[in-house]
């Protein structure tokens, strides 16, 4: 079989701020290209994880191949590579984009440009992609496509007057997008006769087929039987099957050649042999040098992840290993806690990434987890000259050994409508932000620039931002560096026992306030016991706050007759289930969610 004509291939991504309609447009493209009938369409074909569907966001990069008959009468192969929209997932966006030749930028006709619109466009331009804009949601009453087009030209500098104005929801003008993809996105320019050079942009583990590698062939060809070599890990394997991505399914084909996007299964036993960003070549005819790959991302947020049932430690380790396979940004290493037993300290790109990994572990791997308060990496300069990188607060050395501490700071851009500028400035000040400047994008919108300590962002900053701006503010940030800071470790004692998993590091000025709120929160979370339970916050040996959980006085069903029995028994069962979700520490049972309490301190 001859290689497919590269000039008829278009490899592209859709990029957008969250909720601007990326997934909906992807659905329409799949629908319009006739790959599926309307009846077969699940509401959002690309988002095939339950979790994605519920949250309405795309977590994992995925790909789909469709065939489009253009107005010029030719058939084009579209490889649509999906990207996540959230700021936490820049890394994944980056690896998706590396497999593309162009990108469709979706902008909401009512909301206009948001923080992540900019972040994603810059990322695409970094990868030398051709980007063209599409203005979506023009059916909304508040849509103002002219304003948004002008904004795109002013702020991003992309030609936008002829940008397709569409409603992905209703399908209006989506044909214009398809034509624009053919005309504006360049065809791949690989050499099918050169040695194989193939980029791994994703992978997943299937219990029947083993590791499935998602790749973009840059040069050469790969087919069943090809002996392949992974240039970074050094692993070798023989190809079992190649194919491309149908909607929600893998469709085998004979050969993948230069310019094509598809998958490879091979006799790959160990998930660690295929790292995303690695280059696959032909062992017998290797290419001269590997592709640049991706810049290695660093975890910004750490937390302890423990199995609720200690016996599941091995299962948790296996699950983390498999998740890391297609999420190289996930870091983990074993740790132990007095309160929680054996578990892992995991590193994440951000708080959303943390939550998603936690939920995937719970849902896809059926694990019941306890997670501790998130932390950033603190640099501790000890008096003896040693420098420690601290990711777990309970490992903090005695204050007498510490010379000074440093914490990570980020430069943040917050895009907000002008009426909420005041509220957001107050928020940033409360979070020790340093004001850097403000620019008006137009009369009603501004970009606020702040330098913020990362540990002020990881707890509940997103929620606070949204609630104080009625959802109109958006945030993008990047790590700027470290600064010296007055930090203390806050310990929590429950019934006079120190709970290592509840310790957290906080700026000295807010220690009292946080300690008090933490005690109040824990008082709500810890159920009444047979005895009174003091909850205390302490810095070193000094108690700075205290609350008391009163002893249980009354928990009784007054009535239980023939018709009540089944219902009342369910009630008791629920109570028992509640007990099971608790951690016994000393005499006290602490609900597992209490270990995340620190995240909710700003809730009123």
């Amino acid at each position: 079989m001859s290689a497919i004509d590269q000039s008829k291939i278009r490899n592209f991504s859709i990029i957008a701020h969250i909720d601007h309609g990326k997934s909906t447009l992807a659905d329409r493209i799949i629908e319009k290209t006739g790959l599926l009938t309307s009846r077969e369409m699940q509401s959002q074909v690309l988002d095939n994880m339950d979790l994605e569907r519920e949250r309405g966001i795309t977590i994992k990069a995925q790909a789909v191949r469709t065939v489009y008959r253009a107005k010029d009468g030719e058939e084009y192969i579209f490889n649509l590579i999906d990207t996540p929209g959230h700021v936490d997932f820049n890394y994944e966006v980056s690896r998706s984009l590396a497999a593309c030749d162009g990108a469709v930028l979706v902008v909401d006709a009512a909301q206009g440009i948001e923080a992540q619109t900019l972040a994603n466009v810059y990322l695409a331009l970094d990868h030398n992609l051709e980007v063209f804009p599409v203005i979506n949601k023009i059916d909304l009453p508040s849509a103002d496509p002219d304003r948004v087009a002008a904004e795109i030209e002013d702020v991003i500098g992309l030609e936008a007057q002829d940008a397709p104005r569409i409603s992905a929801k209703t399908g209006l003008n989506v044909d214009d997008v398809l034509e624009a993809i053919v005309k504006k996105i360049p065809a791949p320019k690989g050499d099918a006769d050169a040695p194989l050079k193939c980029l791994i942009f994703d992978s997943l583990y299937d219990s029947y087929r083993g590791v499935i590698v998602f790749c973009r062939v840059m040069d050469g060809t790969v087919k069943k039987g090809t002996a392949i070599h992974m240039m970074a890990t050094g692993a070798d394997a023989e190809v079992v099957e190649v194919g491309y991505f149908g909607a929600g399914q893998f469709i085998p084909c004979d050969v993948l050649s230069a310019g094509m996007v598809g998958y490879i299964t091979a006799s790959i036993k160990n998930v660690k042999d295929t790292t995303v960003g690695d280059t696959i070549t032909d062992r017998d005819n290797p290419c001269a040098e590997a592709l640049p790959g991706y810049k290695k991302v660093t975890s910004m947020v750490y937390c302890g992840v423990y199995p609720a049932d200690g016996a599941k430690y091995g299962d948790l380790r296996d699950a983390l290993e498999k998740l890391q396979l297609n999420d190289a940004s996930l870091f983990y290493e074993p740790e132990t806690s007095v309160a929680l037993g054996f578990g892992f300290r995991c590193g994440f790109l951000g708080l959303l990434h943390l939550e998603i990994i936690q939920e995937r572990l719970e849902r896809e791997y059926n694990l019941d987890l306890v997670t501790t308060a998130p932390s950033v990496i603190y640099k501790i300069h000890k008096k003896n000259g040693e420098v420690l990188e601290l990711t777990n607060p309970s490992n903090m050395p005695d204050p007498s050994e510490i010379d000074y501490m440093e914490e990570p700071v980020v430069s943040a851009e917050i895009m907000v409508t002008t009426e909420y500028v005041g509220a957001i400035m107050t928020l940033c000040q409360e979070r020790r932000g340093v004001y850097l400047g403000m620019e008006y994008m137009e009369a009603t919108r501004a970009i606020l620039r702040y330098e913020l300590p990362l540990n002020e962002i990881i707890y509940d900053f997103f929620d606070a931002l949204k609630s104080r701006s009625r959802g109109y503010a958006s945030l993008d940030y990047e790590l700027k560096g470290y600064q010296q800071s007055e930090l203390v470790k806050l310990d929590i004692l429950v019934n006079h026992e120190y709970i290592d998993a509840l310790s957290f590091i906080v700026h000295a000025e807010s220690a009292y306030d946080r300690g008090r709120k933490m005690c109040e929160k824990l008082k709500e979370e810890i159920p009444r016991h047979l005895f009174e339970i003091p909850i205390q916050a302490a810095i070193g040996s000094k108690i700075i706050a205290r609350e008391t959980v009163k002893a249980m006085r009354k928990d009784v069903l007054a009535k239980c007759y023939g018709g009540d029995i089944t219902r009342k028994k369910k009630l008791l069962e629920k109570q028992k289930e509640g007990k099971k979700r608790m951690r016994q520490i000393g005499n006290v049972e602490i609900p597992q969610k209490a270990f995340m309490s620190v995240l909710k301190l700003d809730e009123e």
């Binding site: 047979l530 018709g563 028994k569």
Partner: protein, 388 residues
């Protein structure tokens, strides 16, 4: 010997829905009530076929307010029961009634058809509290009804009371108890108010616990009741039930000790040969069931579940421990062929250490503190669920 069976007959109608009530009841026209009774008679006739090996030992006509039905309707129901089931001569037969809904004629008709126990819903002797609850009667009206009940010749009367009401104090509660015990009913049920979802009280008080007596006050009232009623000759035999010796409600004791019972009428629950099930609970749907049809059982009986031996053991404990006498280890062995202390040793020892239960072989019972937090205690007797 025939197996003992209890009958529960549900009358889902009321003069007015009380604000705290989450029972299956509604107001209805005379015509709807009558149509319901017709269907109930059909059900009695058709279902009784399965129970020929049984002897009915107690009957309980509950609601709603059964006494709002016409006397003839109650008589017809009783006649149908007696015609279709074998009813023990000494059976305890109770009807629930609310003050203001029973005339002398009705009471005589009840006695005529074999009803020998009446349960009156008083709730409080304080008219302000009655109003808060949304009751349709005053204390004075209760007194008249009570007198009528005695004059008609009822020798076994229960009075229902409620404590921990919004605005209730220990002294208003004492006054209610004094007034009621002066009347010398044989039996008193005293329930601590539960705020149930789906009631008006839930809307009013769920987010405003400060309007209700505190847990401490509630317990104070509870202990005061026990002490005061004991002085007056009433022993507490279940968490919320008190009686003069010999007048404990046999029907209700059956629920707590695993006696089989058949529920008849809308939404009524049954426990037959280790199966729990309940009747269709929608009035319209219930009324449309052809009781003689082949699929009558299927349409009538819902939520059918068979109890495994573990579930039977759980129920033995969580229901039996509601009784003041507790559960008996000997009975446990007789019933399940297993030793209670082997099956529940851990829980029993733990609870005993915490003084939540006390042991007087072969009996195990809740202590006063155990009663206060009985949900906590009883949940200890549930086994871990098998993973699905």
């Amino acid at each position: 010997m025939r197996r003992p069976l209890e009958l529960y007959i549900h009358i889902p109608f009321c003069a007015r829905k009380c604000l705290y009530c989450d029972f299956l009841s509604q107001t209805a026209s005379e015509m709807v009530c009558h149509g319901y009774v017709e269907q109930l008679l059909e059900e009695i006739g058709c279902q009784s076929g399965y129970y020929q090996g049984y002897e009915v030992v107690t009957i309980y006509i509950g609601g709603g307010t059964p006494s709002i039905l016409k006397a003839e309707d109650i008589q017809a129901v009783m006649e149908a029961v007696k015609k279709n089931f074998r009813v023990d001569r000494g059976a305890e037969i109770t009807i629930e009634a609310n003050p203001g809904t029973v005339s002398r004629e009705k009471l005589e008709a009840y006695l005529d058809c074999g009803i020998n126990r009446i349960s009156l819903g008083l709730q409080s002797a304080d008219d302000r509290e009655l109003k808060t609850l949304g009751r349709i009667h005053t204390f004075d009206e209760f007194l008249k009804t009570y007198q009528r009940v005695r004059e008609a010749g009822f020798h076994n009367v229960n009075v229902d009371l409620m404590s921990a009401l919004p605005g209730q104090t220990l002294s208003s509660w004492r006054s209610t108890m004094k007034k009621v015990t002066m009347m010398k009913p044989e039996h008193i049920s005293a329930y601590s108010l539960m705020i149930e979802e789906g009631t008006l009280f839930y809307e009013m008080y769920h987010d405003h616990p400060e309007l209700l007596p505190t847990e401490e006050e509630d317990r104070e009232i509870y202990y005061a009741s026990k002490a005061f009623l004991r002085e007056q000759g009433y022993e507490r035999y279940e968490i919320s039930n008190y009686a003069r010796p010999g007048f404990e409600c046999r029907h209700n004791i059956g629920y707590w000790t695993g006696v089989e019972y058949l529920g008849l009428g809308l939404g009524a629950s049954s426990y037959i040969q280790n199966f729990r099930f309940s009747n269709e609970a929608d009035l319209e749907t219930y009324r449309k069931i052809n009781m003689r049809g082949e699929d009558a059982d299927q349409r009538l009986h819902q939520n059918i579940s068979e109890l495994s031996q573990r579930e039977q053991m759980e129920e033995f404990m969580i229901l039996g421990l509601r009784m003041s006498r507790g559960v008996s280890g000997s009975e446990f062995i007789r019933r399940f062929g297993l030793n209670m202390w082997n099956v529940y040793g851990d829980a029993l020892h733990r609870l005993q250490e915490n003084r939540l239960i006390e042991v007087e072989s072969p009996w195990v019972r809740l202590t006063d503190f155990g009663v206060d937090i009985s949900n906590y205690v009883l949940s200890e007797f549930l086994f871990d669920r098998e993973p699905d």
